[in-house]
């Protein structure tokens, strides 16, 4: 089975069919492009929403904000009030009070 085409530049019923077909293809292409762009945008917006809605599942470094680009850490935290990487040791250890020096201590740790 074969089809016959009208010569280029010639007007007639086939020419109008081709123009309508080309126009329809163009519209389809445009709609497809729009759908593709909208889909990508929607996925991006959804991803941002999910990442913020479930922040606790984005574990990062511990005890420091290092590695965090925006200052947000899950379970990390700032260094407020102390070194983020270690517990502070005392400048000197406690000193035992000798028996002859003992008098009633004004304060007791562990009694309440």
């Amino acid at each position: 089975m074969s089809s016959q085409r009208a010569p280029l530049g010639r007007t007639g019923p086939d020419h109008h069919v081709r123009r309508r077909r080309d126009a329809a293809v163009q519209r389809t292409r445009s709609i497809t492009r729009t759908i593709a762009v909208a889909s990508v945008s929607a996925v991006a917006v959804f991803a941002v929403y999910v990442s913020r809605a479930l922040p606790g599942h984005a574990a990062t470094t511990t005890g420091t904000t290092a590695g965090s680009t925006n200052g947000v850490t899950a379970g990390g935290g700032s260094s407020a009030g102390g070194s983020p990487s270690n517990l502070a040791t005392p400048s000197s250890p406690p000193v035992q009070q000798q028996q002859q020096q003992q008098q009633q201590a004004p304060v007791v740790s562990g009694s309440s």
């Binding site: 913020r52 809605a53 479930l54 922040p55 606790g56 574990a59 511990t62 005890g63 904000t65 925006n70 200052g71 947000v72 850490t73 899950a74 379970g75 990390g76 935290g77 700032s78 260094s79 407020a80 009030g81 102390g82 983020p84 990487s85 270690n86 517990l87 502070a88 040791t89 005392p90 400048s91 000197s92 250890p93 406690p94 000193v95 035992q96 009070q97 000798q98 003992q102 008098q103 201590a105 004004p106 304060v107 007791v108 740790s109 562990g110 009694s111 309440s112």
Partner: protein
């Protein structure tokens, strides 16, 4: 209601009161500074209570809990004080390998500790819940740029292991800075020291076993000292004895290996972090304390006393025996 006891010119002045169901003690080296120091102390305690109390419906931390009920789980901007309090709690968790976890609040509520401790004296109805891990400190979002905190819906933060010690650090620093005197603040035995006199402040270290309390005395010149134990904060849940030190892995009270652990550190927060962590870590605590270099005195449930990382033995000699080697 407090009392002020001045021990004469040139000696220590002591102020005592009760707060948060525990004893608050303030010692200053200048008796003339007692009134002003007391005012500073009470303002600091008021602020910490307003920010971090689980038992006040209007506290900022409870507002944060309510906000977290929204399923979006967004981090919410908070005051600088709450941000610091939660940051310190998360830091304590990280530095204790998760032994001191601020997300134990729901577990404590399930054990009946959902009210001021004084209200637990007669016991509470209920039954011991099934073992279940707490949400975990890693789920707490700390946004340092927005000064915002986020927790998952249903998470209740309990800052008990750090907030009281933080209050002691804040109060002692404020008093020493503003009044220039030597200062010791003790909140239920969580002790912070600034500008100590020569020889340091003398502190009794109590070991509570039933109705019997034994005490040894040490002195410290700076930083903090804290004692954790099961001797005081315990109650009955449906007739079953429970206490406030929760194992994050089970959400249940720690099966105690130690009766009492006292730790000295550069701050009261760090001392209390370490003493609480040691209670949770159990037999591994001595090795861990040696690794982090914090002097400690540990009393096992059978009464054996062990010292670590430079804490003097009770008899003035070197460190005591390591139970892991016995």
């Amino acid at each position: 209601m407090g009392t002020a006891v001045a021990r004469g010119p040139g000696t220590l002045a002591v102020y005592r009161t009760t707060r948060w169901s525990t004893t608050v003690e303030l010692v200053v080296t200048d008796p003339r500074a007692v009134a002003a120091a007391t005012g500073i102390l009470n303002r600091q305690l008021d602020r910490v209570d307003q920010v971090a109390s689980r038992f006040r419906p209007d506290s900022e931390i409870n507002t944060l809990h309510s906000a977290a009920a929204h399923p979006s789980g967004w981090a919410h901007p908070v005051s600088d004080d709450l941000f610091e309090a939660v940051s310190l709690a998360v830091r304590a968790a990280a530095l204790s390998d998760g032994a001191v976890d601020p997300t134990v609040g729901s577990a404590l509520c399930a054990l009946g500790y959902d009210r001021d401790f004084s209200a637990l004296a007669g016991g509470v109805p209920g039954r011991l819940p099934a073992p279940r891990p707490v949400p975990g400190w890693q789920t707490v979002v700390v946004d340092s740029e927005r000064r915002a905190i986020g927790v998952l819906p249903g998470t209740v933060l309990d800052l008990g292991a750090t907030a009281k010690a933080w209050a002691a650090d804040r109060a002692s620093a404020a008093i020493a800075d503003q009044l220039g005197c030597g200062t010791l603040v003790s909140l239920g035995g969580d002790i912070a020291v600034r500008n100590a006199p020569d020889g340091g402040f003398t502190i009794g270290i109590a070991d509570v076993c039933g109705d019997r309390t034994t005490t040894v005395q040490v002195s410290i010149e700076a930083g903090g000292l804290a004692t954790s134990g099961i001797g005081r904060r315990h109650w009955l849940l449906g007739g079953h004895p429970v206490h406030h030190l929760v194992d994050p892995d089970t959400g249940l009270p720690v099966d105690p290996y130690w009766r009492t652990v006292s730790v000295a550190a550069g701050s009261c927060v760090d001392a209390n972090t370490a003493s609480t962590a040691a209670m949770v870590k159990g037999v591994g605590a001595v090795t861990w304390l040696e690794q982090v270099g914090l002097p400690a005195r540990l009393v096992r449930t059978d009464g054996l006393t062990v010292t670590a990382a430079g804490w003097p033995s009770d008899h003035g000699g070197g460190p005591g025996p390591d139970p892991a080697r016995r």
